[in-house]
């Protein structure tokens, strides 16, 4: 049962992607939804098993490691799998408006969408360093394919830069894998961790792999490619890029440092990784505040929020781990909602320049509400998932007297308030002179379209994450990385 569920997570979307590419147009919809909608249902038995046993292992096709590839699901992988399933389904429902499954451009979009979903699920399941490289490449290629699906010049340029850097990042990761294999004689992440010890070569390999992944996850100061890519992608693609694609690389950095190198991680590097995060929070927030385009502001906000994920390293401990994992979840939901709302605003107003959006809330009440609610979670006001994670993170910093980290987290919250209140103030502004946007016209039909409801549901999900965090936190506590004691 569990084996079937695990296989379904990867192969259902993968087979659907292949089918979408070849079946006649009118049948595409059936395959798209049969590839996406069962994903949450497949996660239910897995959730039950992880809750009961803490760790689910499966040797794919019966070949045990080191020869075969092992799949492992622990609490962290499960949480990210849930996020991926929710994003794939909900953002997918939204995307069905822009890319109808029966249309010419819909076919290409959905094949890539399903491939991306499948690749990310495979990445989250895998415990094999080389298999992780393969899935990471699949994620990158599918994501960049989606980014250029409309063929806009700005998106093409951003995609080319993203692709070059991602390829370079993959090379560094692969070089690290080669060194690890040369030392440990195995590619299994957990076996290799046990066989290696502190030393020049393993640490070099770890640093190389981390550098590659830092590029792919756009951690400051290697974030250069992200704003243009996320800010120029089609709406639903921006949502999945920010909510999932960059996160899986950070997830992999966590896997390497907290699992592979649990016993031999170089202690001097932990504050350095934290400083990268702090730089991301401050720099990303300030630049988000300076943007003139709403979508670019949301993209820079992603640069800033990714920084919190790196604060796990200096705040290493049960609290810091729960906080960072929960941040990954709540930011994923909130940021997806935010990009979808912004995409609606862009579609209806014809622009996302902040100086031309005054009074947009009259025409787009639903999307303005979504933007505000998602903003609540991003800046960490109660009751929201963002509040829970930042509160836990503050506690973790407090517990180790990490005043620098405490100050950075608080400053990040204030800066987030600054850059998020600015567009809301503009959207709700009432110009003194009568303008077209404020002529008392009723809310437009597009503003109340069901795709807006989907975005609102994601934002409400981010809020709900703040009301009932207990089950997820309890689950995470059962799967603490080795070396972190509760």
């Amino acid at each position: 049962m569990i084996a079937e569920a695990l296989a379904g997570l990867v192969f259902l979307p993968l087979l659907a992607a292949c089918a979408v590419a070849v079946v006649p147009k009118r049948a595409v919809g059936v395959f798209v939804w049969s590839g996406l909608l069962p994903l949450p249902a497949l996660l239910l038995p897995l959730t039950e098993a992880v809750w009961r046993e803490g760790l689910v292992r499966l040797a794919v096709a019966g070949f045990a490691s080191p020869l075969g590839i092992e799949w492992r699901v622990d609490a962290l992988a499960l949480v990210v799998l849930w996020l991926n399933a929710l994003i794939a389904v909900f953002v997918g429902l939204y995307a069905a408006r822009d890319y109808p499954p029966g249309s010419a451009r819909g076919g290409r979009f959905w094949a890539l969408w399903l491939l991306l979903t499948s690749a990310m699920n495979a990445l989250l399941l895998s415990a094999d360093l080389f298999n992780l490289f393969v899935t990471l490449e699949l994620v990158t290629l599918a994501a960049i394919g989606l980014l250029v699906i409309d063929g806009k010049p700005a998106a093409l340029r951003a995609a080319m830069r993203y692709l070059l850097l991602a390829l370079l990042g993959s090379l560094f990761y692969l070089l690290g894998v080669a060194l690890i294999y040369g030392q440990a004689g195995t590619l299994d992440l957990y076996q290799a961790g046990e066989r290696l010890g502190p030393g020049l070569l393993p640490v070099t390999a770890l640093v190389l792999m981390t550098m590659g992944l830092l590029v792919k996850s756009a951690i400051f100061p290697l974030h250069g490619w992200l704003p243009a890519a996320h800010g120029n992608a089609p709406g639903p693609v921006s949502a999945v890029l920010s909510a999932m694609v960059v996160k899986v690389s950070v997830y992999l950095i966590w896997r390497l440092w907290l699992w592979l190198a649990a016993d031999w991680q170089p202690a001097w590097a932990l504050p350095l990784l934290g400083l990268l995060g702090a730089g991301a929070i401050l720099y990303g927030s300030v630049l988000a505040f300076l943007q003139v385009r709403l979508k670019m502001m949301v993209a820079y906000s992603t640069v800033a929020q990714l920084g919190y994920l790196m604060l796990l390293f200096p705040l290493l401990g049960p609290l810091g781990y729960s906080a960072a994992s929960y941040h990954l979840l709540s930011h994923g939901l909130a940021k997806a909602a935010m990009f979808l709302a912004v995409s609606n605003i862009l579609a209806v107003m014809g622009t996302d320049r902040l100086d031309r959006l005054a009074g947009a809330d009259r025409r787009l009440p639903l999307d303005t509400l979504t933007l505000a609610l998602a903003g609540v979670s991003i800046l960490g006001l109660p009751p929201s998932g963002g509040f829970v994670s930042k509160w836990l993170m503050l506690q973790a910093a407090w517990a180790i007297d990490g005043w620098l980290w405490l100050a950075v987290i608080l400053a990040g919250g204030l800066l987030a308030a600054a850059y998020l209140f600015r567009p809301l103030a503009v959207l709700c502004a009432r110009p003194a002179t009568a303008q077209a946007a404020d002529d008392g016209s009723p809310p437009s039909a597009t503003g109340l379209h069901w795709s807006g409801v989907v975005a609102l549901l994601l934002a409400l999900g981010a809020l709900a994450a703040g009301l009932a965090p207990a089950p997820v936190l309890a689950l995470l506590e059962r799967g603490l990385p080795p070396g972190i004691l509760p």
Binding site: F130, F133, V134, E137, L141, I144, G145, V148, G151, P153, A154, L156, R157, A159, M160, R161, L163, L164, L167, L168, S170, L171, L174, L175, V177, A178, L179, Y181, G182, G185, L187, A228, N232, V292, R293, T351, D352, R353
Partner: protein, 103 residues
């Protein structure tokens, strides 16, 4: 100098050549070729670093390199397609003369 060291030095040299061309090239085609060259150096390391363990030849690194080559070809093919499209749409084959994309 041992057999392995020669290959590692060769790999480092190839990697350096790739990195150098990547840094000085502005044409995207040259940059892609540079990345491809760096990739070949890493495949070389993968074969050498894994090496024969206890005198027995280990087949796994060869399988990895084969898989790696397939992935590299797909990625480069995708990048070339993207480059062609970029040149068609923007008329530019470099990222350096980038215009401001504000609408």
């Amino acid at each position: 100098m041992s057999h392995a060291e020669v290959w590692v030095i060769a790999a480092a040299a190839v990697f350096g050549i790739g990195l150098y061309s990547l840094l000085i090239a502005s044409h995207l085609l040259r940059q892609l070729i540079a990345i491809k060259v760096m990739g070949s150096a890493i495949f070389l390391v993968l074969v050498v670093a894994a090496g024969p363990i206890d005198g027995a030849l280990d087949g796994l690194p060869k399988a990895l390199v084969l898989t790696g080559i397939v992935i590299a070809i797909s990625a480069i093919a995708f990048a070339l397609a993207l480059l062609v499209r970029l040149a068609e749409v923007t008329g530019s084959t470099s990222l350096e003369d980038e215009a401001d994309d504000d609408r």
